[in-house]
């Protein structure tokens, strides 16, 4: 059925408007901060950049998982799913430690508009990554029970569309928050 993929396609389109608004809020306040923490003086683009690479790589691995399923290679499907989950989890670990570091410096959501917009934007993105991880884990579980015979499965394809989307959003978020600050 093409229905499921169409649903996830429009869902992702709808979600992208949601993120767009959060990004617009960030951009709107970018130039207005007069004192307190800003992206330029409190973030480490290199460290986050490295963790971002994990997320980018996970997009690749989930694509490979789809390919394995298409060629009915169930073993590799499971392997690539595990790899994807691990890479996503690493990214979340990176983000969590970044948040903790900032909170240690008393940079919180209520500190100023940078804190507000930064934590909201990255927080909602992180939440989406976590949801994606949950779905990938379910897929892995189903794969363990041999639910995906291949060569096609809406489940795997839909989750990977979602995962690519989450990844794409991060590219924009990273560019807007980290790269823009250091241009």
């Amino acid at each position: 059925m093409a229905n499921n993929k169409m649903l996830i396609g429009f869902f992702v389109a709808s979600e992208s408007i949601f993120f767009l608004m959060l990004i617009l809020a960030y951009v709107n306040f970018h130039g207005t901060i007069t004192d307190g923490p800003t992206a330029a003086n409190s973030l480490d683009p290199l460290r986050t950049g490295i963790f971002s690479l994990f997320l980018l790589a996970s997009s690749f691995s989930v694509w490979l998982a789809g390919r394995s399923m298409a060629s009915k290679n169930h073993f590799m499907l499971k392997i690539w799913l595990v790899v994807t989950i691990l890479l996503g989890a690493l990214f979340i670990y990176g983000q969590a430690s970044e948040w903790l570091g900032l909170i240690d410096q008393n940079i919180t959501i209520s500190r100023n508009v940078f804190g507000t917009t930064f934590f909201t934007l990255t927080g909602f993105h992180g939440f989406h990554v976590c949801v994606g991880l949950l779905m990938l884990t379910i897929l892995l579980g189903l794969a363990m029970f041999g639910d995906f015979k291949g060569p096609k499965s809406d489940g795997v394809e839909c989750v990977s569309i979602y995962w690519h989307f989450v990844d794409g959003v991060w590219i924009v978020v990273y560019s807007v928050i980290y790269l823009w600050a250091f241009l």
């Binding site: 389109a13 767009l20 617009l24 951009v27 709107n28 130039g31 241009l183």
Partner: protein, 276 residues
Amino acid sequence: MNIWQVLSSTWNMEPWVLISALFLLIGYGIATGFKFTKLSALFVSGIALYVFALVSPLDYLGRTYLFSAHMIQHILLLLIVPLLLLLAIPEKLAKKALSVEPFGSIMKVLGHPLIAWFLGVGAMWVWHLPSLHDMVLANDNLYIAQQISFVLIGMIFWWPVFAPVESRRLSPLTSTLYLSSACLGCTILGMLITFAGAGLYAAYMTPVDTMGILPLLRGELCLTPGVDQQIGGLTMWVPGCLIYLTASMVTLARWYSTEENYEISTTHYKEIKNFE
């Protein structure tokens, strides 16, 4: 000086514009055998707009005084001129050209919707980064590069939707998505420029008033930097967006007209009637 004097004295016959236009016209003529058709009319009007955008007061004012003039020029060069030029390419010619390597594979890469989209929307965003824009205004060579890049990138952007060869086009529904998301990209930039405080682009705040027309612009025409920037932002936002939307109406109409037609034969029809 009044407004008419300003408009008549700021034409700026830059040789590179005229030479490139002539070159393109002759090239097109040779390729199509100098026959006057609907397509060649499109091409000539495209070139005419190209020349107009670059030699008319739009160019002069946009480079020195008015962000809004720059934006009109920008929309012409990025969205309208390339579309006209692209539509003017005959299908046969395009097929022939695409079979020539490496041109064919280059277009395959550049014409990939993702790449074309990012180039098209990226050109709009990147060239309007305040620091870059101010730099362009100060440097003539960079300025020429910018204008040429607009036209080229514009053609690449329109390629997936209006490529002369149908097999290179996206399906109608995907093109609609392609165009409306690009529209969104341009809308957001327009919105940001419109609602940002005046003085986003420092060069237009205090232009070097060589012509002595600043009092006219600021006073009589009320084009203060804030208003000027708002008009510029709205130009990108509204007419810019309308171009994308009109194009996506075209793609929607394509979809609507190619839609599958299930019909039921008249004989069956009577059968059912009897059954009822």
